[in-house]
Amino acid sequence: MTEKMDKKPIISLRNVIKKYGENLVVNKINLDIYQGEFLTLLGASGCGKTTTLRMIAGFEDITEGEIFLEDENMAGKPPYHRNVNTVFQSYALFPHMNVFDNVAFGLVEKKMKKAEIRKKVREVLELVQLTGFERRKPDQMSGGQKQRVAIARAIVNNPRVLLLDEPLGALDLKLRRQMQLDLKHLQQQLNITFVYVTHDQEEAMTMSDRIAIMNGGVFEQIGTAEEIYEHPKTKFVADFIGESNIFETSIHAVEEKMLKLIMEQGDVTVREQGFEVNEIAYLCVRPENIKISEFPVEGFNLKGIIKENIYVGSQIKTTIEMINGYLVKKTAFPDGDMKPAGSIVYLYWDDGKSVLMHTKEDKIYNYIESAEGGSIPS
C-alpha cells in the first residue's frame, strides 16, 4: 500500500463543488487517486458519489474546483477527450450492435486498423470469458454476460482509469459475490486504476485498496477497509460500516494519555489523545469487542442486565440493557463468555478496542464556512 502512496496521483480532485441550482450535491471535496489503486466511493444514495464519478468521466460540469488527470486539468474537456472509461450501472450496451461491435466501438473511434481491432477484441473477450459470443445482441444475453461485455468494452481501450458505477447492482447475490472477486483479479492483472461506486459496504470492503466514505457531499473518511473499520473517524462512519455501540460522553478529566469519560450509562477510562476537558464526544465500541464480567473491572463502571441471547450459527448475539435503557449489542463465538438472560453483568473492553470521536458540531460549522452561505447538506 505505502509504495503506491509514494507515487504521484493519477487523479486529483481539488476543492470540487457541484451544485444543481441551489442544491449542493458535492461540497468542496479533495481526493488523490494513485496508479494501480482500487478506490471505492461508498455511501448511501444521494450522497454525491455517482455525481463525483460522473464529474471525473466528464458527464457533469464542475461548479467550482478542479479535476486533474495525470496533472492535466480536465476543465472543459468532453468525455471523448478523456482517457478514462466508464462501466455503467445499466451496462448501457448499444442495443443495435452485437457484442463484437460493442467492444470494438472505442477502437473504431480511434481509427484503429481492422485486423488490430479484431485481435484486441478477441483478446479482451477471452479475458472476460466471452469467446464465441461475438455475434450475439445484448438482448440475447444474461445480466452477468452483459456486465462482462460492458467491462470488456471499457478496458479494451486501455484507459488510464476505469470508472465503475454500481456495476453489480442488478445482479443476484451469488453472481455478485463471484463478480466481485473476478473484478478484483482483473484489476490486479491489468494494473489499471479502478474507481468504484457502491452503496454496499461489504462489496467495498471485499474489493477496495482504499475506501472513501461519502455523506452529504463530503468525504467522512478515506482509508483502507481495516482503518475504517477499526478506527472510524466519525459517528457516521462507525454507524455506516458494520455495527457499533455508540455512547455519548463528555470528557471529565485528562491524565497522561488517559481520559476519564462521563456517560449516562456509567463512567469509563480510555487511552486517547487530542481531546479537551468538558468536550462532548462519541465513544464507539464494536459488538465483538464488548466483554462481560460478573464483577466490576477497573476503569469501567458499566452495569447492565442481559436481555436476550440469540444464536445465529457462527455467533451469539447478546443484547444488554444499561441502566438508562440504552441497549448494547455484543457478539461472541458460542464458546465465548456467555451469561444467561437476566444476569447482571459489568461491561468492559481491552485497551485500544474503543474509538473516541469528536462530535460533528464543529464540522457543521466548517460546512457553513466553506459553502459560503450555501445550504447545509442534510
Partner: protein, 289 residues
Amino acid sequence: MKKEKKKKVKNQNHTLPLLAMISPTVIWLFLFLVISLVYIIVISFMTKGPFGTIKWMPSLQSYIDFLNPVYLKVFRKSVEIAALTTVFCLLVSYPFAMALSKTTGKKKMLFMILLVLPFWINGLIRLNGWVNILRETGILNSLLMKIGLQPINFMYTDGAIVFGMVYAFLPFMVLPINNSLSKMDPALLEAASDLGAKKFRTFCRVTLPLSIPGIFSGTIQTFIPSLGAFYIADIMGGGNTMLLGNLIKNQFTSARNWPSGAAFSVVLIVFTLIVMKLYNKVGNPEDLV
C-alpha cells in the same frame, strides 16, 4: 475572465448542433404554416375586390357576412354533423377497441394490420363503394326489392354524410382507445373482481375511467377533421348539404371571395381552439397523438 471564456466555448458546443438539428423543422413550419395562417387572418379583415382579387382596405364585412342566417345555419349543421359523427364513432369504436385489447399475439397483430390496411386504398374509392351499396338503385335497395320491400332513399341525406364520416374516421377513434385499454394492467381487472365487483361494475369503476384519455383523444381526432372534411359531404350528400368545409372551399374556388373564405376559416380556427381549450382542461394534449 478565464472562466467566462470557458463557459462560452461550452455554450457553443451545444448551440451549434442544436441549431443544426432544430432549425430545418422550425423554419419549415414557420415559413409554410405560421406565415400562411397569419396571412389568412390578415385577408379575412380585408375587402373583396373585383374578379376575385383582394382590396387592401381593412373591413369587418366578411365577419358581418358570416352572421347571415344562411351561413350560421351551415355552421350549426357542421357542428351537429361533426358531433353526431363523433358520438357514433365512439359507440362503434369502444366495444371494438375492447375486443381488440382482449386479443393477443398473432391474432392481435393481424387485427391491427386489418385495421390500418384500408387506409392504403383510396378513401374516396371506399366511400364510392358505399355509394354503390346505398344509392337508390344500389345493391341494398335491389336486395330490399327482391324480398318485396319498398326501396329506401339512403343517399344524399345528412344521415349518409354522418355514415360516411363515421366510416372515414373510425380508426382515429379506435386506435387511441385501444392504446389506453391495452396499456391497462390486466391485474387491475382481476383486483376489481377479487374485491367483489361484478363485470358491469368493474367496467364502470375501472375500465371506463382508465380509458378516458383514449376517449378524449379519439373524440378530438374525429371531431376536428369532421368539421372540415368537404369531400365526404360532396360524395355522400351529393351537394345537397353545405357544410363549413364546402363553404370555405367554395369561397376560395367558385365564388372567388377570398376575404370571406378567410373569415370563415378564422371562425373555424377559433372554434377548434375553443374545443382544444376545453379539451386541455379535461385531457392531456400528450395523449393526442
